[in-house]
């Protein structure tokens, strides 16, 4: 039975997409079957796998708004064992269209139900907001993975995110757990980064992944080649960190 993990944080640019794409790729490298769901209208996870958005006729928008069966929109990726539900610019209109839809918060959960049993992991890449698209992801998910950038501003939004997770748990998805908090873009040369790491570990006692993702230019170069870092530069420090993270996530499988 597949585990559905939402990768969410309303703070922008903290590494949600980079985490979804690269964690997904390393889970697949470990023999797991993975589906990545891109529900960010920017479609960065879609291009992170080299999928040309302009040529797609079906995408997450049609699944969420037109009730298109999800299997008709899923596409392969360059990573063996990893498939993708792509996002296109149409999705930008979805938030407003969802506002008036019946049972609008559970649309994604219902769309995913035909494929949940076919994948070991379903990773959902969320946009930088706490609107209806992210709420849909939190409602569909078994757990939420929270990337936190090692920067001052990134600490501010965490309370708001946890409040939202609690609201969703109380009203829409009682089983929603925290998969873990991932520290990203760590630059050991700055005091600020070290202070943020201490702060986060204190605040999320026991929920912080051991793996810390360093700032590593190979992670930001890989998407321009349309592949995850495991296919671009597998020996880079960024690749190693996400490989370690995948091992930790797999450790959680035993519960």
């Amino acid at each position: 039975m597949g585990r559905v993990i939402a990768v969410a944080n309303q703070k922008g640019g903290v590494g949600k997409t980079t985490t979804t794409v690269n964690l997904g790729a390393f889970l697949a490298r470990n023999g797991r079957s993975v589906l990545v769901v891109d529900i960010d209208p920017q479609g960065n996870a879609t291009s992170g796998f080299g999928v040309a958005k302009g040529e797609l006729e079906k995408s997450a928008y049609h699944v969420l708004i037109d009730d298109l069966p999800i299997k008709e929109a899923i596409v392969p990726t360059p990573v063996q064992g990893l498939q993708l539900l792509p996002a296109t610019i149409d999705l930008a209109g979805a938030e407003i269209e969802l506002v008036v839809a019946l049972s609008r918060e559970t649309k994604l959960k219902r769309s995913l139900s035909p494929v949940v049993g076919e994948h070991d992991y379903i990773l959902i890449d969320c946009p930088p907001s706490l609107g209806l698209l992210t709420i849909n992801a939190l409602t569909a998910a078994d757990s939420v993975l929270v990337p936190i950038q090692c920067e001052f501003y990134a600490l501010e939004g965490v309370t708001q995110l946890m409040n939202t997770v609690n609201i969703v748990r109380n009203s829409l998805n009682p089983g929603l757990q925290i998969e873990g908090v991932l520290l990203t873009m760590f630059d050991g040369r700055t005091n600020l980064a070290i202070q943020v790491v201490d702060e986060v570990k204190k605040h999320f006692r026991g929920k912080v992944f051991r793996s810390i993702v360093p700032r590593n230019v190979r992670l930001s170069e890989a998407p321009s080649h349309g592949v995850p870092v495991v296919l671009y530069d597998p020996r880079s420090r960024g690749a190693e960190a996400y490989s370690e993270l995948a091992k930790e996530v797999i450790e959680h499988e035993q519960g």
Copy 2:
């Protein structure tokens, strides 16, 4: 008559808040009267000026949703000549509440009208989305300043942003101009950054600011001290870049 500039880009973490706070501070240093309007529910611009959000009774939420006169919510900052309309977490609910409000796109424009004549510049820090808060900012603005991070993913969303600017210009704000495109977090050691700069200059011929903001840790440290970089480390490369930017924006005054 004050110039209203919206700082917007739905891509997350590209430097919207850092630009609003530091451009505002240097415009004030040049003797201009500045009002910064924070309409991002994360309230990063508010803490970037050291304003304690927890102690605020009035904020952008009350101005936008309860029609509180804006002068009752404006607070001073550590920068002489620069005032702030702060944001608190309440604002997160505003997007949904605005959906059903009458003339919902012009709420901010109407709220600002009492103070437009009192400031030389009003800078609006937008959240990382193209929802009703950002639409309100684009409708209230004379021009939009677009920070673009020198990264691959940051290029993807620009077309979507320009589409939105055109839609707002055609239906809500015929006078909306582009103040300029600002390249941020430039790291000259990576090829990727150089490629992105070339790409952006080609795409926005003539609209790209000469100043390019380098990646500089002093910019990310300053907010943890609750002050803009001009008060934290005025001789840093980050401070110099925003000082140059302020001079370019002032050059536009002569139109």
